[in-house]
């Protein structure tokens, strides 16, 4: 095997491992009764956080290439995006089935009455068409331009997911702040990266002494 091909396979294997490990760890903790005093809350929180982390990783693909020329995330962006959507789905399922016991009146009430759940749900709904068009035939069918336009929804979904997390925590916003900062940096990096036409020129005139 060529060195490049082997490297590509290793990267793929690594990213698959990265995608699956949190789920397997959570499964092991659940089976081993090691999720703490409030296991459902813990499971919900962990799954939601992993959905966010993978969303941010997905969004890092383009800036990473612009800044460093690295294409590895870009080549596996679909895997990362689908992983994020899967964790979001598991997050929602744990909430609906284990936490609310599929009590629809409660669930619908939550979605309608509690803004943090409303925006979380909206974020999930926005991810659905992206996940549903994550195969080559869909790109051909939609045409690359329209497909890409559709997939820009990921920014809206991530923004809403971050808002969902922000509103969920009571007083300590340290962790959502970290995610929000990463999100902001990724957005900035997309538009102001080396090689981009918005690059700042060195200031003219006097140099500082």
């Amino acid at each position: 095997m060529r060195r490049g091909a082997l490297q590509a396979r290793l990267w793929a294997a690594g990213l698959w491992t990265l995608a699956l490990t949190p789920a397997l760890v959570l499964l092991a903790r659940a089976l081993g009764n090691r999720l703490g005093a409030n296991p459902i809350e813990e499971l919900t929180l962990e799954l939601g956080q992993w959905a966010l982390r993978f969303l941010l990783l997905t969004l890092a693909a383009t800036p990473l290439r612009r800044l460093t020329g690295w294409t590895v995330l870009l080549r596996h962006r679909r895997l990362l995006g689908l992983t994020a959507a899967s964790y979001a789905l598991l997050h929602l399922l744990v909430y609906a089935v284990l936490d609310q016991g599929l009590l629809w009146s409660q669930i619908v009430g939550d979605i309608l009455k509690r803004p943090f759940i409303t925006v979380g749900m909206a974020a999930f709904v926005l991810l659905l068409p992206l996940a549903a068009t994550s195969f080559d035939a869909a790109i051909r069918r939609l045409g690359a331009r329209r497909w890409q336009a559709l997939h820009r929804l990921v920014y809206v979904a991530t923004g809403l997911a971050l808002l969902h997390f922000w509103w969920k925590v009571k007083a300590d916003t340290a962790e959502p702040t970290i995610y929000l900062t990463v999100f902001a940096l990724l957005l900035v990096a997309r538009f102001v990266a080396p090689g981009h036409r918005f690059r700042r020129r060195p200031p003219a005139g006097r140099q500082p002494a």
Partner: protein, 316 residues
């Protein structure tokens, strides 16, 4: 009401009740001074060893299964030691609960400073098993040891002008590292109306599960008001002040639309982020469903009359 027996410290709650009760009898029969050796935590307040291990059962018990001890002591909201539920158990070792004094003053004729050792006198103490309902939608059943709040309050002879009682947590960022961050206005303050404070259910806890109160649970002295959400039960109290005005309480100051002064458990009044209709009893595992929340956390018979004529949707 069934007779309740005091449980042993340790893994009692996850052991079948009959087994641990039998074991406790054995221990009591032979233990005596051995208790101090078996639980090093007792050594710091040797005088408390006997009393806490043999306090009588007080009123207001329940037959409901106790929440396992490791959850009562390992899942805490005590932002003075961090905002994660596991933080207090990990960080509260920096608190020094002895020596400790509580200042009782304000609109009283005999202001007083009480030493914790005095409150720990065996003759004062009793055990009460109370439900605890958190505004976040979870609940526990905890065997507290302590004394009726009214017993302490009466000693300072409140003036007729006193309408409220304000409780203040220790403010010392060295002992409580969470206070180095402005998550809440420090020190944590809570308050009760005078009649609520004097109610026989209102309790000052100095222990749980037959042991002195662990730091993360509010050592050495905390309030327990079982018909109100848990955040009313202020921990590590250093001051009790009788006031003419309603006290400015910590969570109420931070988010008045979410945390009322009264904070009575009420399945009819939702918190903006959590429905209060049902609750999750901790320790019941992944597959247990939520249970309906009772008005006043099941203590309506005892306390509903305190709020006659009030609109508890407005005064939540």
């Amino acid at each position: 009401m069934k007779r309740f027996r005091l449980s042993v410290p340790g893994a009692s709650a996850i052991t079948p009740r009959a087994v641990y009760q039998a074991r406790r009898q054995l221990l009591l029969a032979g233990a005596g001074a051995g208790l101090a050796l078996a639980w090093p935590g007792f050594a710091r307040s040797a005088s408390a060893v006997g009393p806490l291990a043999a306090v009588p059962r007080g009123p207001f018990g329940t037959d409901e299964a106790l929440t396992p001890r490791q959850f009562v002591t390992g899942y805490n909201n005590f932002y003075e030691f961090g905002t994660d539920k596991a933080d207090p158990a990990a960080n509260a070792h920096t608190l020094r609960p002895r020596p400790w004094q509580v200042q009782i003053d304000g609109a009283v004729s005999r202001p007083l400073t009480v030493d914790i050792e005095e409150l720990l006198q065996p003759k004062n103490l009793q055990e009460r098993i109370y439900r605890l309902r958190c505004v976040e939608g979870w609940s526990m059943v905890i065997p507290w040891i302590g004394l009726p709040l009214a017993d302490v309050l009466r000693r300072v002879e409140p003036l007729g002008s006193a309408k409220y009682v304000e409780f203040t947590t220790l403010h010392d960022p060295e002992q409580m590292p969470g206070q180095k961050r402005d998550v809440l206005p420090w020190p944590y303050v809570e308050g009760l109306r005078l009649d609520e404070a004097m109610h026989p259910l209102s309790f000052l806890a100095v222990g749980l599960y037959g042991d002195v109160l662990p730091n993360q649970n509010g050592a050495p002295l905390r309030l327990v008001v079982p018909w109100k959400y848990g955040f009313k039960s202020v921990k590590s109290i250093v001051r009790i002040r009788f006031a003419e005005q309603q006290p400015q309480t910590a969570w109420n100051v931070v988010a008045p639309q979410e945390y009322g002064f009264y904070a009575n458990v009420n399945p009819q009044v939702d918190h903006p982020r959590w429905s209060q209709a049902r609750e999750r009893r901790l320790g019941e595992g992944l597959l247990a469903s939520r249970r309906p929340t009772l008005p006043f956390n099941g203590y309506a018979e005892q306390v509903a009359s305190l709020y006659a004529g009030m609109d508890l949707r407005r005064d939540f």
